[in-house]
């Protein structure tokens, strides 16, 4: 027999102090989802410089003539703020992946009684992977 419980109106964010693990998981999944779809549109916009590059368009990067795709990406990557945002994107993506796996398990009815623990595990693992990736993401960029 499946169990269900009344979660109340979660859309009322004023109730946040009453939220349990599952509700936080739901909110974080939604927030990270919005970030990721927003990023996808931005990502394709930046990568669209490949169309110009394929047609031979060039630009100046550090007083060197380079194709517009290489120049745009390397120009962005030379900015510290972009590297910080990339670390943020990694954190958002890793949490969405890990919590997504948790949701697939919930859908399959696997480990339902441990759904709160698997949310905490997703959070901790996201933190660990993000922190461990910081050196890689900040390679070769100054403030």
């Amino acid at each position: 027999m499946s169990q269900s419980y009344n979660r109340g109106l979660i859309e009322d964010f004023g109730r946040w102090k009453e939220f349990s693990a599952g509700m936080w998981a739901w909110i974080f999944h939604k927030f990270t989802g919005w970030m990721l779809i927003g990023y996808l549109f931005t990502h394709i916009a930046v990568l669209s410089t490949a169309i110009g590059a394929a047609q031979g368009e060039t630009m100046m990067l550090a007083s060197e003539q380079v194709d517009v795709y290489t120049g745009t990406i390397q120009g962005l990557e030379s900015l510290f703020i972009i590297r910080v945002l990339e670390v943020g994107l990694l954190a958002v993506a890793v949490f969405h992946i890990l919590n997504g796996l948790r949701l697939l398990m919930v859908d399959l009815g696997i480990g339902l009684t441990a759904q709160d623990k698997s949310f905490y595990a997703s959070l901790i693992l996201t933190g660990v992977i993000t922190v461990a990736s910081v050196p890689t993401f900040l390679t070769g960029v100054g403030l």
Partner: protein, 122 residues
């Protein structure tokens, strides 16, 4: 008995496709991040390097499928989030229309970019 909270139609194809694309995206998104931040560093990306990767038909198809699955999963997620917040009636239809147009535009633009990267069009 608690109410049913999901905005998905029970047993609907939207629900199933959201899960199927999720399972695909988990693998490809992890690969994509690993490939372009740890194997190759994003700061070292060049058009020549991108072309070399995209000329491989398997990689090219994986990236195009990644784009289509990602767009569907993301936009369907946004739509369901809005329905979940109480979107109904005409605004719901308008939002659905706008999201479909945005999705088609994103996929078309992405495929154009992928073709330019692979050297199939100039």
């Amino acid at each position: 008995m608690a109410e049913r909270y999901s905005s998905f139609t029970p047993g609907g194809t939207g629900w199933l496709l959201q899960r199927l694309t999720a399972a695909f995206l988990v693998v490809v998104l992890a690969f994509h991040f690993f490939q372009l931040h740890f194997v190759n560093h994003a700061a070292d990306v060049t058009f020549m390097g991108t072309q070399a990767r995209m000329e491989n038909i398997g990689y090219f198809l994986a990236m195009v499928l990644f784009l289509i699955a990602g767009t569907f999963h993301g936009v369907n997620g946004v739509y369901n989030a809005l329905v979940n917040q109480g979107l109904t009636g005409t605004p719901k239809k308008v939002v659905l229309g706008v999201l479909i147009i945005a999705s088609v535009a994103l996929i078309a633009q992405g495929i154009w970019v992928a073709l330019a990267m692979s050297g199939m069009i100039y």
